[in-house]
Symmetry: C2
Subunit: 190 residues, 2 copies
DNA sequence: CACCGTCCGTACGCCACCGTACGGAATGAC
DNA sequence: GTCATTCCGTACGGTGGCGTACGGACGGTG
């Protein structure tokens, strides 16, 4: 557990974990140091201040949960299949999505910006897949928001009342029922 | 602004407001006292400690956003119309739903419990309306979770990326598109 | 082994907030 | 007006986290 010397990346990883569990407040230098079996001396060697760690953690999360996910699906040509893989992948992911956990910490500028960027990229990705599927731009956008909202909502309920929105089996079924709503183009009035 | 003496309820109101803006961390005695134009002396007369205020604020919110909402719809006999009024009512509500803001503070037992109770009651209410509408129990439950999840998701996106999920007009349209998905009983496999 | 750059431990001062103690102002009862 | 009760101001000690200073351990290079 202890013993080895730490790299900057070790702090970032720990920060992301803390972030996912208890939000921005958990990204605290001294508690994290204790958790890593080291001291503040280590931290302030690798980072200028607490803010720098938070920024790095957010950036790390932002990258892993947008770009990397997209890259993993890059070689699936069928948009419908791509969406299916996406939904199943993210619902299978254990742990709580930071987008849900951090929604209360929008007072912090870095957090607010990261959350906005992530939401926009995610919606844009789904929107593009829906457009590839033949939906008109406006309709694709509306449905992308609905789809992403459904995902966020499920995750949020899972975190606050797990028995209502279990993980695993039930989550996969939920994802499928969402996908079932897609193909038929039911027009919605502006 | 200042001047008058404060009642316990004044503190609770201020706490709920703070809670809705920046979460549990914002329910801090000294900052709230400053905001109310008074001092800690007042606070510790009305409350045993910070925890007591938090509990009162949560209880207040919990009541206002479950029981009171339900009561307001009690005299609408048609379940479909009741759901419609419910959705339009809650989407019209300005400000962010505490259920979204507090999702990151589940480390706190009181918060966790309150969030779980609220989610359960809200889902149960929708579920009952759907059952009254003729859906089988299991199906009503599933759809109630979907519906509540969609609401939460929209609220969450609104808080983190407002341009994707605007309030007012667009929210009402969103609510209507949700309701449009209801009547046709499309069976989902268990 | 001597040296230098990298990394960590420890001690310190600072600030924000919690909770307590207690004196005193404001208010209503009579 | 007196008096008791209700409510508030202020001063204090305690705690936890931030950031700095600095001494020294570690590890590679010659």
């Amino acid at each position: 557990m202890a013993g080895k010397r730490l790299a900057r990346a070790d702090w970032v990883r720990a920060a992301v974990t803390a972030l996912a569990e208890r939000g921005v407040a958990a990204v605290a230098v001294e508690p994290l140091a204790a958790r890593l079996g080291t001291t503040k001396g280590s931290f302030y060697w690798h980072f200028a201040d607490r803010e720098a760690l938070l920024a790095a953690a957010l950036e790390n999360w932002e990258h892993e949960h947008t770009d990397d996910v997209v890259a993993a699906l890059a070689d699936i040509t069928d948009p419908a299949q791509r969406l299916r893989s996406l939904l199943h992948g993210i619902f299978a992911l254990g742990g709580d999505d930071l987008a849900v956990v951090l929604a209360g910490d929008t007072g912090h500028p870095l957090v607010r910006a990261a959350l906005a960027r992530v939401a926009e990229r995610r919606v844009a990705y789904v929107e593009r897949a829906l457009a590839d599927l033949g939906l008109a731009d406006a309709e694709a956008h509306r449905r992308a928001v609905v789809l992403y909202g459904a995902y966020i909502g499920y995750q949020q309920i899972h975190r606050t009342a797990p028995e209502l929105a279990p993980a695993g089996q039930a989550a996969a079924a939920f994802a499928d029922s969402l996908l079932a709503l897609l193909p038929p183009t039911a027009g919605t009035p502006g």
